[in-house]
């Protein structure tokens, strides 16, 4: 007989993340690199293991190869457990037929047998595209103390941004009075973080009901949680304070990275009591050359920096040659920036090659019409030829021709 698991987590990693364009052409969004050595999924996974949740299902049906390879047997997050551990759950065939995940709720529905194997009392449902450090164990205690059926993690956002979020209006006891989905005129600034804890018995009943409803989109936010609310179940909001960022767009991904260089931002990745784990290849300490100039930057292992670096983040094994300049940019693993190339306000994906004299991105001050300016992106494995130019806001998907001197 399998022992009861108090709480397991289901991580919704399915999204193609199309707003990230070339960065998610071949990889699922949770596998997008972040912060010099991490990938987005490191945050929810590390949060789980640090919170004592040792059974995690990762739900994905889109390009799981890279994600699979990255997660491997879970060892990097201490999730290579004999019972539990991390499991990637793709759709499969049953005698009764087969289907792809129709929505977030359906994805969980299809994996009810997986969940039941572990006989959990509570299930945490997490989304896989946020950067934050959070102790789910505290949220679970909150959930249990209130005998809640569903607890939603909640963050107070600036009023001017509130309309971009799913909002909650609360009663005095933190129970949820009303939901507002991205309203034009928000009457609350309490946003849902996409982190839920459910009492499993209740969740299961609503998953079955939701699946039986042919009109449902099988989505947590749109269907299942409103249904619970309507039926008068005990829904509570758990207040969270701290850094939390959705990295669903190029701009927010770029910002979230540079946040790490801002001492005023409350996201400490060096906290030994809440380590963020990641799966990294064997690489050496990085090397800073005799004529390099490095300021306000973060550099991962295996890099060789001989040029100038300012307000930038280099992932593993990046080479910045002498005379190259990288500013306000994110450079993902294995990319090489040749002498004389200039990379500014850009995200350069993995294994790209920026050749001599090329210019990627530009300063915002050169664009009086700010609508024309934005972060430039170079897709993975691409070559930006000699003296070629990648304009601000451009998203390079194919090889670019050699430019004019």
């Amino acid at each position: 007989m399998r022992k009861k698991t108090e709480c397991l987590a289901m991580l919704l990693a399915g999204g193609q993340g199309s707003r990230l364009g070339v960065l998610t052409q071949n990889i699922a969004k949770p596998a997008v690199p972040y912060g010099g050595k991490y990938r987005i999924i490191d945050f929810p996974l590390s949060n789980c293991v640090n919170s004592g949740i040792e059974t995690v299902g990762v739900l994905t049906q889109y390009e799981p190869l890279e994600l699979n390879a990255y997660i491997g047997n879970g060892q990097a997050w201490d999730l290579d457990r004999i019972n539990g551990g991390v499991h990637i759950l793709s759709p499969y065939q049953q005698i009764s037929g087969t289907e792809w995940y129709k929505g977030t709720a359906n994805a969980i529905y299809q994996n009810i047998p997986f969940i039941e194997r572990y006989n959990p009392e509570y299930v945490a449902v997490l989304s896989g595209d946020h950067i934050y450090k959070m102790d789910y164990a505290k949220m679970l205690t909150f959930h249990k103390e209130r005998s809640a059926d569903c607890t939603i993690a909640m963050l107070e956002v600036p009023w001017e941004e509130a309309s971009r979020f799913g909002l909650m209006i609360l009663n005095d006891d933190n129970s949820i009075a009303e939901f507002e989905e991205k309203p034009e005129k928000p009457s609350s600034n309490k946003a849902s973080m996409g982190v839920y804890i459910f009492t499993w018995e209740k969740l299961k009943a609503y998953l079955l009901a939701d699946e039986a409803d042919p009109d449902s989109d099988n989505d947590f936010g749109k269907n299942l949680i409103p249904a619970m609310h309507q039926a008068g179940e005990r829904l509570f909001a758990y207040p969270f304070e701290g850094y939390w960022k959705d990295v669903g767009t190029i701009d927010s991904l770029w910002e979230a990275n540079l946040d790490l260089l801002n001492p005023g931002v409350d996201l400490d990745l060096s906290d030994d009591n809440w380590r963020i784990y990641s799966n990294n290849p064997a690489n050496t300490p990085h090397y800073i050359g005799p004529n390099a100039l490095v300021e306000n930057s973060m550099i991962a292992g295996g890099c060789r920096v001989e040029g100038k670096l300012d307000y930038s983040i280099l992932f593993a094994d990046v080479i910045v040659e002498e005379g190259a300049k990288v500013e306000y940019s994110i450079v993902m693993p294995g990319t090489r920036i040749e002498a004389g190339a200039v990379v500014r306000y850009s995200i350069v994906a993995e294994n790209a090659l920026i050749r001599r004299g090329a210019q990627v991105g530009d300063l915002p001050e050169n664009y009086p019409d700010r609508d024309l300016w934005g972060v430039a992106v170079v897709g993975d494995g691409l070559v930006v030829e000699k003296n070629a130019r990648v304009k601000p806001k451009e998203m390079l998907e194919n090889k670019i021709k050699e430019g004019q001197e």
Binding site: G35, G36, K37, Q75, A76, L261, L269, S270, R275, I276, Y277, S278, N280, P281, A282, N283, T284, P285, H286, Y287, I288, G289, P290, N291, A292, L293, V294, E295, N296, S297, M298, I299, A300, G301, R304, L309, I313, L314
Partner: protein, 373 residues
């Protein structure tokens, strides 16, 4: 022979005595090196990279930090049900009157049970004080092509200053020749890197004989005295290999890695060096930092000036501090305005603000573990 037919044996305490500064609380194998490694990572990775899946690490004393480092062997993918990594603790061996072993022969004999249980046909032995990255697959092939009984790896250059290091001459075929065998250690010579490959059954026989006859010296009593009886071949190591014989060479070898060609030779991309993963964040450079020609591991926070240095994990350099020609081990804290030249700090050292410490390139200043100055 397939490499998984070879049993690896690593001495974790080899020549602890030549590096007394760093080995009072740790074995040679767990001496920190090159920013994020421990010395045992090199023989271990060499073995794993050529496909060896069964490695015994012979220990003597002070091996807690070594056990902590190698753990279950996961970092080298040696955490296995069958085979994998085994730390062999000292055992009161009745053959030596219940005392812990002193010589290489005694060390091997104390691990004889482990060796006998292995199903491998060959044994490859390495020391921990030799920093090298070589393809043992080539060595194994050489051994088999030559039909050798024992193959030992050598370098032709100035021999390290280690008492009793084996130097020798070879004939045209590569066989160690009898007449020119000598023990010197001053001028250029073919000197042993203490890497030996031989058939397991032969090792078992030689060991049993040695114990019966009271032999103590592996090099002299087993290698040298068998040059005629056995086909002992030398295999020249043409890749990176340096032997640590003192704190001075330890310092030099670290410093030499600031030359990109030396670093690239030791960290050959197709033979990665594996080590325990620590999940530190990438290192952060502040506005006031100025770093030149240095090797920096993860987790450092640098606000001062750094030149020609090797930094281990989580070194903290305050504003206005100046470091030149230093090897700074993990969790060292350098206060604001401190000025260090030719200094080696062991783990957890603290240099208070504005302190000035200076050694010489030929005689670095050493600061022990946890010292606050």
């Amino acid at each position: 022979m397939r490499a998984n037919n070879v049993l690896g044996i690593i001495y974790s305490n080899s020549y602890d005595s030549v590096l007394p500064e760093l080995t009072p609380l740790r074995a040679m194998g767990s001496v920190p090196f090159a920013g994020r490694y421990r010395l045992i990572d090199f023989p271990l990775s060499n073995m794993v990279n050529c496909g060896i899946t069964n490695v015994g690490v012979i220990t003597k004393g002070n091996y807690r930090s070594l056990m902590d480092h190698v753990g279950s062997g996961k970092a080298w993918d040696l955490s296995r049900k069958r085979d994998g990594l085994f730390v062999i603790p000292p055992f009161s061996d009745s053959a030596f009157g219940g005392e812990q072993f002193r010589s290489r022969i005694e060390a091997l004999h104390s691990a004889i049970g482990f060796i006998e249980r292995s199903k491998a046909e060959y044994v490859l032995m390495c020391d921990s004080n030799v920093v090298c990255n070589m393809d043992f697959g080539d060595l194994i092939k050489y051994h088999s092509d030559k039909g050798a009984d024992i193959t030992l790896v050598y370098k032709y250059e100035q021999a390290p200053k280690i008492p009793g290091i084996l130097t020798f001459a070879l004939d045209a075929s590569g066989r160690v020749s009898n007449e020119e065998l000598c023990r010197c250690g001053i001028t250029c010579a073919a000197h042993s890197l203490n890497i030996f490959l031989l058939r397991k059954s032969l090792l078992e026989r030689l060991l049993n004989d040695a114990v019966c006859l009271g032999y103590k010296d592996f090099d002299q009593d087993i290698i040298a005295s068998n040059v005629e009886n056995l086909k002992i071949f030398g295999y020249e190591c043409d890749s990176y290999a340096r032997t640590i014989d003192s704190l001075q060479t330890y310092y030099e070898i670290n410093m030499d890695l600031l030359q990109p060609d030396q670093k690239d030779a030791l960290f050959a991309p197709d033979r990665p060096v594996f080590t325990k993963v620590h999940d530190d964040m990438p290192s952060v450079y502040s506005h006031s930092s100025n770093v030149k020609n240095s090797l920096i591991a993860d987790g450092c926070k640098i606000e001062g000036q750094v030149e020609n240095c090797v930094f281990f994990r989580r070194v903290n350099v305050g504003r206005g501090a100046k470091l030149k020609n230093c090897v700074i081990m993990q969790d060292t804290f350098i206060g604001e305005g401190a000025d260090l030249n030719c200094v080696i700090t062991d783990k957890n050292a603290v240099i208070k603000p504005d302190k000035v410490l200076s050694g010489d390139k030929n005689y670095p200043f050493f600061l022990g573990k946890g010292i606050v100055i």
